[in-house]
């Protein structure tokens, strides 16, 4: 848009320069007009008309103007149409040239803070589809083994599996093998017959469903705004017998540890050989067999207890509310990314007590973390002394979909120690801000990169960047494709002397 305005300004300047040296002449029939103006076939300049009026008189000049063909000024009529036609032709050529890509996208190339991830991308302008492709080699690993001495040994590296191994080792030795087998894939003798195919299909479907078609893009190029891009996901994963079996075109090795059914927790992570200097194909993702179904640990829920008959929280619940408030800072002033809200369901003997208890929770949220009251919603929980807090939508996350976010170049947004402290910047904060989504931070929320499943607009920032790269065009932004109207023939206003424009003036006023 800026470039077009500058070109129009240059055109106006050029016209004025031609008109200035108007010659002084005595009489008509043929009024002398600068040769360049005649040659151009354009309208007489204001300065020329004034000069002629002063020398030949208003009436003569008016008659001459009536004989002049009505030619609309280029800047107001013919140029917009020509520009429109040229842009549309260019757009059609772009579309008819077919799909753009596929091309590999390395998040580190556009984000200096990134050191992981990678995917392929292809844009089909005819379908308006941006296809994001993630390819992986899945290595099935036991989560636990039995030592020659008959003791369970944790292999999956989480605290939960360490605790499970200790629990198995309290069983009589003859009973241990059957329990350890539950941490073994069926291909190695485990009891869950379809576990490997379930994992492969669950991995694919949880990522595709979790990430596809969340936020459309559209082209911002002048007269191209009806060109759109909906993001489609395609995840292709296949089993390999060893880490070395990963193909060169696969973005990640997925080490998948078998855990028993019902397992909660586990270590899930992503890393890339070479870090920021690595390629899009050097990633390693570690997950468990339970990471392709929604989490069961209710990360977005908190249970509250009130003192019987009173409006006050129990001491334990005060701590729960303060910790929650600390992990959910308000959005920084000027941020475009909203902080998650809370729904507080409160029980009590009557409406008044429920409201009092809600106010008590609100007070603790303010004291514990300065939470803005507008983020907190009351819900009537009926009679009793309990309560419940839900962060955002409360919908459970599927870990594989979260880890896929790292493959798409996004950092964690949940809270923890050090760099994960609530309110601190993430490794995609600056990249998202450059795309207009400011204020991404570590915070407890329902977002996919925090504790929930919601893919927010700023989580599409690398897809937008990939679209720009694969289309070789920078003019893309968030939002659906827009309607493009051709410019009207002679502008928006009736032109005197044209059909429907009324009678042409007899004189030119100066």
């Amino acid at each position: 848009m800026m470039a077009r305005m500058r070109r129009d300004a240059e055109r106006v300047d050029a016209k004025a320069a031609v008109a200035d040296p108007a010659p002084a002449v005595a009489a008509v029939p043929e009024l002398p007009v600068a040769a360049t103006e005649r040659a151009s076939g354009g309208a007489l300049s204001r300065a020329t008309v004034v000069a002629l009026q002063q020398s030949a008189g208003n009436a003569a000049v008016a008659r001459m103007l009536q004989r002049q063909p009505v030619v609309a000024p280029p800047a107001l009529t013919s140029s917009p149409q020509e520009a429109f036609d040229a842009a549309r032709k260019e757009r059609e050529t772009f579309i008819s040239a077919g799909k753009k890509g596929p091309q590999t996208y390395n998040p580190s190339a556009s984000n200096k803070d990134n050191y992981y991830g990678g995917f392929d991308v292809e844009y089909d302008p005819a379908k308006g589809e941006l296809l994001v492709m993630l390819k992986g080699a899945v290595l099935f690993l036991a989560g636990m083994s039995l030592s020659p001495a008959g003791r369970a040994q944790a292999i999956e590296p989480s605290a939960q599996t360490a605790a499970a191994a200790a629990a198995i080792n309290k069983l009589p030795k003859p009973a241990r093998a059957a329990e350890v087998a539950k941490w073994t894939w069926s291909s190695a003798g485990g009891p869950d017959s379809s576990d490997e195919t379930d994992l492969l299909s669950g991995f694919k479907s949880s990522i595709e469903a979790g990430w596809r078609k969340k936020h459309p893009f559209h082209c911002t190029k002048e007269h191209w705004q009806d060109l759109g891009a909906e993001t489609e996901l395609r995840v292709d994963v296949a089993k390999v017998a060893a880490a070395g079996g990963k193909g060169g075109d696969q973005h990640m090795l997925v080490n998948t540890y078998k855990v028993s059914k019902g397992f909660i927790g586990g270590a899930a992570d992503v890393s890339r050989a070479g870090g920021a200097g690595g390629t899009a194909f050097g990633n390693v993702m570690n997950i468990t067999s339970e990471d392709v179904v929604p989490r069961k640990d209710k990360l977005l829920d908190r249970t509250l207890h009130f003192q019987p008959g009173k409006g006050l929280l129990t001491p334990g619940s005060v701590g729960t509310v303060w910790r929650l408030a600390k992990d959910m800072p308000n959005a920084a002033p000027g941020s475009t990314i909203e902080a998650a809200g809370l729904t507080v369901r409160v029980q009590g003997k009557d409406d008044r007590q429920r409201r009092d208890r809600f106010d008590a929770v609100l007070d603790h949220l303010k004291q514990g973390g300065g939470m803005d009251a507008s983020r907190v919603k009351f819900e009537d929980g009926g009679t009793g002394d309990g309560g419940h807090v839900t962060v955002g939508t409360g919908a459970a996350q599927t870990v594989a979909a979260h880890e896929a976010g790292h493959m798409f170049g996004l950092d964690d947004e949940y809270t923890g120690a050090g760099d994960y402290n609530a309110g601190k910047k993430t490794e995609h904060t600056d990249l998202a801000a450059a795309a207009g989504h400011t204020g991404a931070m570590h915070a407890n929320s329902d977002a996919i990169m925090s504790g929930g499943k919601e893919v927010k607009p700023h989580h599409y920032v690398t897809f937008l960047d990939a679209l720009k790269q694969v289309s070789a065009m920078q003019e893309w932004d968030y939002g659906p494709a827009q309607k493009v109207n051709p410019p009207s023939g002679v502008g928006d206003f009736p032109v005197p002397g044209t059909p429907g424009g009324g009678k042409a003036p007899d004189t030119v006023l100066v």
Binding site: R151, S158, A159, A163, R176
Partner: protein, 140 residues
């Protein structure tokens, strides 16, 4: 975790986010487990949960295994191993293993980041020594 049993001989703390599972042995040979994660088996079904951090006394090492553990700690090179062991490349959201030992008035802590990806020989030696000690109290 507060109120950790003392005096300490050896501790391994496995941490995943805010979750922790801890094996701890005091100088008198008492074996403790602690942390805030629970894994229980009931009629063949697993139940995983979180709880308030606490310590549970498991058993006491006999003098022989206790002496063997002290020798292994002394010979492991643990007291000269770096306080931090990082993976070659950063691993986003990995578990870690925090080892602490105290012997002859020296106390040292070393953290293995990205557990399962990273390794350090003195810590692997300690892990084998801890497993031998736990096997010595295995009554199964």
């Amino acid at each position: 975790m507060s109120d950790a049993p003392e005096p300490l001989l050896l501790e391994r703390r496995v941490e995943t986010g805010d979750d922790a599972y801890v094996d701890r042995i005091t100088t008198d040979g008492t074996v403790w487990t602690g942390g805030n994660v629970t894994a229980t088996l009931e009629d063949g079904d697993w139940n995983f949960d979180r709880s308030e951090p606490s310590w549970t006394r498991q058993a006491t090492l006999q003098s022989g295994p206790l002496a063997a553990l002290r020798r292994s700690i002394a010979d492991s090179g643990f007291f000269s191993t770096p306080a931090e062991h990082h993976p070659d490349t950063p691993v986003i959201h990995a578990s870690r293993e925090v080892w602490t030992a105290e012997l002859d008035g020296r106390r040292h802590t070393s953290t293995l980041h990205a557990r399962g990806t990273t390794s350090a020989e003195p810590l692997s030696t300690l892990a084998a020594a801890l497993e031998s000690a736990l096997a010595a109290i295995d009554t199964g």
